[in-house]
């Protein structure tokens, strides 16, 4: 596909949040996925496999690693939902497998064919799980020191994401 368009991905996430009337953290990502008639499957996958997105017999499927931490599971689920929302044509041709933390926070264009898809999916997941307006409300107009571990962890817990994901999200704040 062409260059990544993370803003398109974030807009898509915001559209879903509006559709489901999400007004407070944490975002019910499992409920959103099931409401869109996508099957959410948990399985004991290899450690470096965080998730899968594919279409089988016309049914969208998201695979999540049952052995991972729930915050990571939630991020993986949101990431794979992005592939269904934004990359349906690509994933209908093959199982799309995501590995590890490697791709989570890269934001530069890469020579690899699937990298733009990853950049978009990460942007989508980040916006879906930590919506800008809910984050603003949580911060009550103020900022947060990126070095303040306790504050980062408290925010992360509230949004049910990892501290690393929250820190990354705040860098775009």
């Amino acid at each position: 596909m062409a260059d990544a368009d993370p803003e398109r991905a974030r807009a898509s996430a915001r559209s879903i949040l509006r559709e489901y009337g999400v007004s407070a953290p944490p975002v019910p990502v499992e409920r959103i996925i099931k409401s869109r008639k996508i099957v959410l499957q948990y399985a004991p996958l290899d450690e470096d496999l965080s998730g899968m997105a594919y279409i089988k017999d016309g049914v969208g499927i998201i695979g999540v690693n049952a052995l991972h931490h729930p915050n990571r599971q939630r991020f993986s689920a949101a990431h794979e939902l992005a592939h269904h929302m934004l990359h349906a044509s690509e994933i209908s041709q093959a199982v799309h497998v995501d590995k590890g933390i490697r791709v989570l926070f890269r934001d530069d264009v890469s020579a690899l064919g699937t990298e733009p898809m990853e950049i978009e999916a990460n942007a989508f997941a980040s916006e879906l799980l930590i919506p800008g307006d809910l984050l603003a409300a949580a911060l009550e107009g103020g900022g947060v020191d990126l070095e303040d571990e306790a504050a980062i962890e408290a925010l992360a817990r509230r949004f049910r994401v990892s501290p690393a994901a929250m820190r990354f999200r705040l860098t775009r704040w």
Binding site: K34, Q41, Y42, P44, L45, A66, L67, P70, Q73
Partner: protein
């Protein structure tokens, strides 16, 4: 990575005192296709008397259990550990395993000086196929046929379930046969009730359970009593102060509005009802949970989902009420006394890091060097298990006085009051009872009786000599 299905056959049902005789495990991929299998057997440990019912059920004559060509218990447990570690991380599944096989495995590892919690650590998860098949009976359409037993009641016994569902079960109460039957039953649920299977897999992860019950305003908790499933919409009100893995939930079947106005005494009286409005489960025991939006109507006990969710949110938002509910419930709980026997104290604290290091060193050392390691344990459980282990495996390296003390202690246990291990007296009485019922079709029990009489006589002579 995979699932690991396992089963144990044991000398009896007393965890900590009975031992594993036969262990079988099958590793499958995520779609339940077998990729490897493992079996191990051991001979009887000298201090263990099998319950005669176990011998009859398993079809194991005593002479087979005392066959010296079989590996020792310590050797078997080492093999089990190495295999399961090499298959980790995985989801460990057995039939009724959370309450039985997992406990037998933990005790076996612990008493052989290995870390006890193999299936709960190393990124492993665990689940119980019995709760899966019971949950399967509560969904529609039911993926499994639940048979009726001779007494006209529904039964979830593995051999009966297997027969009713055309699942091969070559030999009931053989560990590998039981494992293979369990895999097949799970495959049926996997194929016919994918939603149920997903919940089963998802909530095998302790961290996921903790996150789910904390994040959700409420959910359905399914509990099983007397082979019946009971569903209740509940909301989590806190961690059990006495058990880090315990969670306390409030049933939403009651009007929760009145609770906030109750005094502490009134709350305690309210929570003392049977069944209690407070439900307890462990996040590491693969509880059967269903999100409200996934729950069919019959799981909501007649309530509307909107009303139930509103009640759940009100409770969740009232931190003071949650605190008071937990305190009122705990106040009525009897304290747990320290068990009298070391074998019963697996959950009374973890060994310290120094002892963990010593235990690890034990397995690396030669038998002559192991005694000094054992003597240096600070934890009296490990010291006793280590001494006993050395007595069983390599008594020649033990000094005479140490050896005599171990022998005296073991002899006392086998002649004790029966609150710990099965004693000679109890084993003989149980054997005679079964013989009296005409239950000995192949001579297993009568030969066991002869064995018991012989050992009991020799033990009596030994104890008489000690008194002198």
């Amino acid at each position: 990575m995979s699932f690991v299905f396992f089963d144990t056959e044991t000398t009896g049902l007393k965890r900590g005192f009975d031992q594993i005789l036969h262990f079988a495990a099958v590793r499958t991929d995520a779609s339940l296709n077998e990729v490897a299998r493992f079996e191990a057997r051991s001979r009887l440990q000298p201090h263990v008397l099998p319950h005669p019912s176990a011998l009859r059920t398993n079809g194991l004559p005593i002479e087979r259990l005392t066959d010296s060509s079989l590996p020792s218990h310590y050797a078997m447990v080492g093999d089990i550990r190495r295999t399961l570690m090499s298959w980790s991380p995985a989801i460990f599944v057995g039939f009724n395993s959370i309450r039985f096989d997992e406990e037998m495995l933990r005790h076996a590892l612990f008493q052989c000086l290995y870390p006890a919690y193999l299936t709960s650590s190393h990124r492993n998860c665990r689940a119980d196929a019995l709760s899966l098949v019971m949950a399967a009976d509560a969904v529609s359409p039911a993926p499994l046929v639940v048979p009726i037993n001779d007494e006209g009641r529904r039964t979830f016994r593995l051999q009966h379930l297997a027969a009713a569902n055309d699942v091969s079960h070559a030999r009931a109460h053989d560990a590998m046969s039981d494992v293979l039957a369990t895999v097949e039953l799970c495959r049926l649920v996997y194929q016919r009730s994918p939603e149920l299977w997903q919940r089963f897999v998802r909530f095998s992860n302790k961290a996921t359970v903790a996150d789910f019950v904390d994040a959700e305003d409420g959910f359905v908790l399914t509990e099983f009593f007397g082979e019946q499933a009971y569903h209740a919409p509940v909301v989590c009100i806190g961690v059990d102060p006495d058990q880090a893995n315990g969670r306390l939930c409030l049933s939403l079947n009651h009007d929760v509005g009145q609770l906030a106005g109750m005094s502490d005494v009134e709350l305690q009286a309210h929570l003392a009802q049977k069944p209690s409005p407070i439900r307890h489960f462990r996040i590491n025991a693969a509880p059967t949970l269903t999100a409200f939006f996934d729950a069919p109507e019959h799981m909501l006990d007649g309530g509307s989902i909107g009303q139930i969710e509103d009640q759940a949110r009100r409770v969740k938002a009232d931190a003071d009420l949650c605190t008071r509910l937990v305190a009122a419930y705990i106040a009525a709980r009897d304290p747990y006394p320290l068990p009298p026997h070391l074998e019963d104290r697996i959950y009374n604290g973890f060994p310290g890091p120094d002892d963990e290091g010593r235990a690890s060193a034990f397995h690396q050392a030669s038998w002559p060097d192991r005694l000094a390691i054992v003597q240096s344990f600070e934890d009296e459980r490990l010291k006793w298990f280590g001494l006993r282990l050395m007595y069983f495996e390599a008594r020649a390296v033990l000094p005479v006085m140490v050896r005599a003390e171990i022998e005296r202690r073991l002899a006392d246990q086998l002649a004790g009051d029966g609150s710990g291990c099965l004693t000679y007296e109890l084993a003989l009485a149980e054997t005679d009872k079964l013989l009296g019922e005409g239950a000995d079709h192949d001579g297993i029990l009568s030969r066991y009786r002869i064995y018991l009489q012989d050992r009991s006589a020799r033990a009596a002579a030994f104890r008489a000599q000690m008194v002198v």
